[in-house]
Amino acid sequence: MEEKDDVLLDIQHLHTAFRNGDDYFDAVNDVSLELHRDEVLAIVGESGCGKSTLATSIIGLHDPHNTRVTGTIQYNTYNLVDLNEKLYNQFRGKDIGMIFQDPLAALNPLMRICDQIAETLVYHTDMNKDERQQRVLELLDQVGIPEPKRVARQYPHELSGGMRQRVVIAIAIACKPPIIIADEPTTALDVTIQAQILDLLANIQKESHSGIILITHDLGVVAEVADRVAVMYAGQIVEQGTVGDVFNHPQHPYTRSLLRSMPQADSEDDELHVIQGTVPDLKHMQIDGCRFAQRIPWIPASAHEEHPSMHEVAPGHLVQCTCYRTFHFEDDDVVAAGGVANGTN
């Protein structure tokens, strides 16, 4: 699995900084990730953690005047960060497909569905009009839209949310890209449609052996479809590993707090766990030290690293900062929590 040619996308030390006046603020801070063929990599975190910024950095949707992207995003022999707009356009759609969160905003309200899907094909293939038409119907059929012929002539406003999301997926997979970025593909949909869309993504992946980056804050979705998980907090990846590792043996305080704040099946009258405070905004983000420290103030400062680095707790399971070793929830018994942490190590 760890073979060299298996890696589709290799992100190293990626920084994405937004300009405010003369200063730049890192929304994505030193992120290193690998996406393998045939896997679903989930990126989870609260809103404001930089998940979507990371996605848009990969596909190069940032305005260079107001954003500074540094680091490397290695795809084949190209470093996507260095590409100019014209070159980038050859990758967008063809090699990297993106599924956006809000399907209505992602679709052009004035274009028919068939034209919107065919647009990608016009740029990246040399199909003629009939072939494109054929392919559009094929795609609509593939994403499970009934009566593709009729729907292809319709406009986005005539479709329901689930149907629109399917159209967006159809656009993303039109050129069979090896990398698909799904930015909260199911947040705007209700759970039943969500299950269908996730199934659809899984099927597409099975057919085209692509790598999918799934961005979401729904841990249930992650547990269901993802192979590996990266937990993001305040622009950094705080924990990374396989789904089994991260969910069964969560290490980082943030991951553990998130899992704890889910409504659970066996506790009835208990209060839900709330993580103190909020994700700090970019301006007030501390540059050094563990960024989660201010939301777990009962953990002494000595537990954190001054310059947090990734620690490997199990093969392929990385955790940032040393605070995971001594972390316990505020209301828990310190000794017990320490015992558990030692046990899982």
Binding site: E46, S47, V143, G144, P146, G161, D190, V191, T192, I193, Q194, A195, Q196, L198, D199, L200, N203, H217, L219, G220, V221, A223, E224, V243, G244, F247, N248, H249, P250, R256, S257, L258, L259, R260, S261, M262, P263, Q264, A265, D266, S267, E268, E271, L272, H273, V274, I275, T278, V340, T344
Partner: protein, 390 residues
């Protein structure tokens, strides 16, 4: 005595078409549902989008015109605006909306937004009003200077809390919470839910909690009703979640519920419970047949003759013996044909579990669905349908 009794509530929307714009058809958004809400309890209403949950909620608040049926509040039918005014119903029943931003007037300050119900229903002087607003902001855990801000200055969780503050401003007895947390992050969701529970305990407020997230509903509710495209399917009353807990373990093989649990992999214990993936995918990429049994869609089995039977059965609607059933078996408020479908499905599942499939197939070549064992003989109608199908 129940705070609110819903009796055979129907909300139909007309479909107009043609040159004269005449009513040509109707959308049966809510079609004959029954349930009661007790004071101080949380009543969960779950269902897919488009199943009429929100319409039910709006009808109860009075935002939607009721086609027929009754909503009894203190024994009086409040489907007419005049009765609502006489009973001061509008003061006692408030609503929390799903989309917090669009439910707050962008041109009003928070103080004015929260003060609106107070100004409508209570006779307060300006200073009293100020005092009350501060108190309310305190209840929802917001700083007092928030009252001079505008809605856009707040995050989603804060806005939702402002919505809650507005809803509790008149000391209501019932709050209809229409998906109050579905747009929020996990941690914020936990905050809002905790807080809703707290004010419920403090002020003895009843909630009608509308949601499509079973985990959240389970956390909040004692009683649960599920809403389907046709009406209220099954409401498990007088039972705590130990009864409906089965939904989660899937031992109640109730297809609509299964569809509402997208993920089987919910943590069972604090941070570190066994997460597992569901063994089989329950939903397939298909569309719901119009006018058919939509539970078939989530049915993991291939379409059988029985499933096809259901496609033409719906027109017959609820049979009369269903009413008898609801009387003889307290705890199940309402039922209609879909319950029968559900019943069939669950029986098939029972059969799955109890019958060795290979033995069965050896007995009956050419069939792919084991027969239901003859248990639960209290449903004669279903049995006759089964006999027909066989």
């Amino acid at each position: 005595m129940a705070l609110i009794e819903i009796r055979d509530l129907k909300v139909h929307y007309p479909i107009r078409s043609g040159f004269w714009n005449r009513v040509t058809d109707r959308v049966l958004a809510v079609d004959g549902i029954n349930f009661d809400i007790e004071p101080g309890e949380t009543y969960g209403l779950i269902g897919e989008s488009g199943s009429g949950k929100s319409t039910t909620g709006k009808a109860i608040v009075g935002l939607e015109k009721v086609t027929s049926g009754q909503i009894l509040y203190e024994g009086q039918d409040i489907t007419k605006a005049q009765t609502r005014r006489n009973l001061r119903y509008n003061k006692d029943v408030q609503m929390i909306f799903q989309d917090s931003l669009s439910s707050l007037n962008p041109r009003k300050r928070i103080a004015d937004i929260i003060a609106e119900p107070i100004r409508n229903f209570e006779n307060m002087s300006a200073t009293e009003e100020q005092h009350r607003i501060k108190e309310l902001l305190d209840i929802v855990g917001m700083p007092q200077d928030a009252m001079y801000k505008y809605p856009f200055e707040f995050s989603g969780g804060q806005r939702q809390r402002i919505g809650v503050a507005r809803a509790v401003a008149t000391n209501p007895k019932l709050i209809v919470a229409d998906e109050p947390v579905s747009a929020l992050d996990l941690s914020v969701q936990a905050q809002v839910l905790n807080f809703m529970k707290r004010i419920q305990q403090e002020y003895n407020i009843a909630y009608l909690f509308i949601s499509h997230d079973l985990g959240v509903v389970r956390h909040m509710c004692k009683n649960l009703a599920s809403c389907t495209a046709v009406g209220l399917l099954k409401s498990v009353r007088g039972r705590t979640f130990t009864g409906t807990h089965n939904i989660f373990t899937r031992s109640v093989c109730y297809p609509p519920f299964r569809r509402l649990i997208p993920m089987n992999a919910r943590p069972t214990a604090n941070t570190g419970g066994p997460w597992r993936r569901s063994s089989s995918r329950r939903s397939r990429v298909t569309t719901v047949p119009t006018g058919g049994c939509w539970t078939c869609n989530s049915c993991p089995r291939p379409i059988t003759l029985r499933c096809l039977m259901r496609l033409w059965r719906p027109t017959r609607g609820a049979s009369s013996n269903v009413e008898d059933n609801s009387q003889t078996r307290p705890g199940h408020d309402s039922a209609n044909f879909l319950v029968e479908c559900d019943y069939l499905h669950s029986r098939q599942d029972d059969a799955r579990r109890s019958t060795n499939r290979r033995d069965y197939a050896a007995d009956r070549p050419g069939t792919n669905c084991p027969p239901a064992p003859r248990v639960r003989a209290e449903r004669p109608v279903v049995d006759s349908v089964l006999a027909l199908a066989d």
